[in-house]
Subunit: 365 residues, 2 copies
């Protein structure tokens, strides 16, 4: 296989929507129509697609005269490692990032476009598996892959744009949380971060946490569900619960008070924390001091509560609801919204205090 990249060639042959296909034409036994069939096979009969892959642009239905749109990046070595995640995992993850953002507006996904840059020497099987994972995640989210572009790069870089349909509802923004609202979450919290920590320590279980890191499975229908229940604000938990609720608190100019005892329990997280602390303390004949230092280092940021509050990438959903709403069972109330007191800025409190570890959202303050 050669993707045949060169400065002039690349300029001429990968410039546009639809080329995601044409690269494959040239490299496999497939041929164009075989590949279209292959990509399409994993997808539901895209109800929103008027014109899919193959022209200068795609055309999608926007039944209520509005379209939701969001773009997300994944960079090899930053958002995934090829030795820790397989191509199918990366495809799922790339899809999940975009589709979860659409759901967090209260919309259903309609279509997805993907820009894929990769080294020429990447095995075709990697691209095939990636596409299969992306297509499968789109199928989970009810969206069709309608366009893309391909180019050569030193490392794999994927940009996904997801489009969605609000089905006549108002978008659920970050800014609508009001005094007296309850705050609820659905989906696992901290599992992806714990999985990453396990990989980082060379551990191979608990398997569900590794899987959560490699291949998050957002419950996309929870987004529209929350909108129908009257959610006043909603966000995709991708930066970490504190960080993302911090965005909601700031946009809504409110104080969000969480009660740690209300956080959903997670036995695998406790197991993972124990495993990591043990692994860190027991290196090959380390000195007592080194062993203790490593254990302390491992413990910092290695507890179930820390992962739940600061771990990102689970793509759970957090939302505020009026206090009288009856929530479906998968939503857990974890706190409430109040007005900031005099001299108090908008933000998030855990058991009445600013959480001692800094969430991701503060990194750039």
């Amino acid at each position: 296989l050669r993707w045949g990249y060169g400065a002039r060639r690349t300029r001429r042959t990968f410039p546009r929507q639809g080329r995601f296909l044409e690269v494959h034409i040239t490299i496999g036994e497939l041929g164009e129509f075989g590949l279209i069939a292959r990509i399409s096979a994993g997808l539901p009969p895209g109800g929103h697609v008027i014109l899919g892959i193959g022209d200068d642009a795609a055309v999608l239905r926007a039944p209520d005269r509005r379209v939701v749109a969001t773009t997300d990046l994944l960079v090899e070595g930053k958002h995934f490692r090829r030795d820790w995640s397989g191509p199918r995992d990366v495809g799922h993850k790339a899809g999940a990032r975009g589709l979860a953002d659409v759901a967090a507006m209260g919309a259903v996904a309609s279509g997805l476009l993907v820009a894929f840059a990769a080294p020429p020497e990447l095995p075709v099987s990697w691209a095939d598996e990636f596409t299969a994972g992306l297509a499968a995640e789109c199928a989970r989210g009810g969206a069709a892959i309608v366009g893309g572009d391909v180019a050569a790069a030193d490392k794999i870089m994927i940009a996904v744009t997801a489009l969605g349909d609000l089905q006549g509802r108002a978008p659920v923004r970050r800014s609508g949380a009001g005094q007296g609202d309850v705050v609820a979450v659905t989906g696992a919290l901290g599992h992806s971060a714990a999985g990453l920590a396990l990989l980082d320590h060379g551990l191979t279980g608990p398997a569900e946490l590794l899987t959560a890191h490699r291949r998050p499975r957002p419950s996309y229908d929870a987004g529209p569900e929350a909108a129908r229940c009257g959610a006043t604000a909603m966000i995709d938990v991708s930066d970490g619960l504190l960080a993302d609720l911090g965005h909601v608190a700031e946009a809504s100019d409110v104080l969000i008070e969480l009660t740690s005892a209300l956080l959903p329990g997670s036995r695998p997280l406790s197991v993972a924390a124990e495993l990591i602390i043990t692994a860190a303390a027991g290196g090959p004949r380390p000195s007592e001091v080194a062993r203790a230092a490593r254990a302390v280092q491992a413990v910092a940021g290695t507890s179930a509560a820390d992962w739940m509050l600061t771990g990102g990438e689970d793509h759970a959903f957090a939302a505020a609801f009026p206090p009288d709403v009856t929530l479906p069972a998968r939503w857990s109330v974890i706190g409430h919204v109040r007005a900031p007191g005099t001299g108090t800025s908008a933000g998030v409190l855990v058991d009445g205090k600013r959480y001692k570890r800094r969430g991701g959202w503060e990194h750039f303050r």
Copy 2:
């Protein structure tokens, strides 16, 4: 300035739509609202924007219940070189690629999302200038920047998604060209390729060709204009005229016959060809043989006609129209459409023959 990239940080701090802003918050004197104002300043009051940058996703109007969508990649070293193009040029070019695809469907652009990966050590001024160029190109095309994402990468990589509004018209596809149609183009042909060749030979003029390479200026309104005139097929000329008309011919299953004498004349292209041949022949005391060899090498692919037929990235528009249509003056008829004869496949002929140099569209055959 530090963008503060690290594996964990990046995961937490650049995962989503809207972060394009937040990076800037942290690195300059600007602050969030100053930057929003700055980005918005260059834009027309986005008529299609319901919800712009700053939430999990944007919401755009789709007045006729459809949205046009296309994604394009630009990779440093492949699609641009930082020593040959300034950041503002790259911003214009990134916008033009997406906006031209939307126009080539007969649509007007409504919104644009940008994924921007760059090395941490990139000066902020580069990102600022890039944004300014992108915003200015969006303004040219009538679109608003409504979302984005940022991450660290070894080289600059930009993925642009452009969305558009068909204003109630049918999309003009590649597949509609019919026997008897005329084929017409609008916009410069070959200027970008000639500009690139000049840069490649260290030449600094003609300036308009260098500018054409660095900062193409598609006439976006020509796309909807062609649709209103009844265009049966249309394409953005980004791969080169022969390559792109080849796509139209294949999708429409027709033969497109071009008449080279009808190609719009271009004095700058002839000047550039002369300059390059002279430059190639006149090195520092080369041997007669070396001089001749280099001249031959330079001449191959260095003529006005070659550039016009095979040069890409001008983002001219080529379209087929029924023969009885009266075209606006900026469209030049350059050929016509006929059915492939027996034993002849769909394709493009120039003066009755397959063009002797291979266009970009054949690189992967």
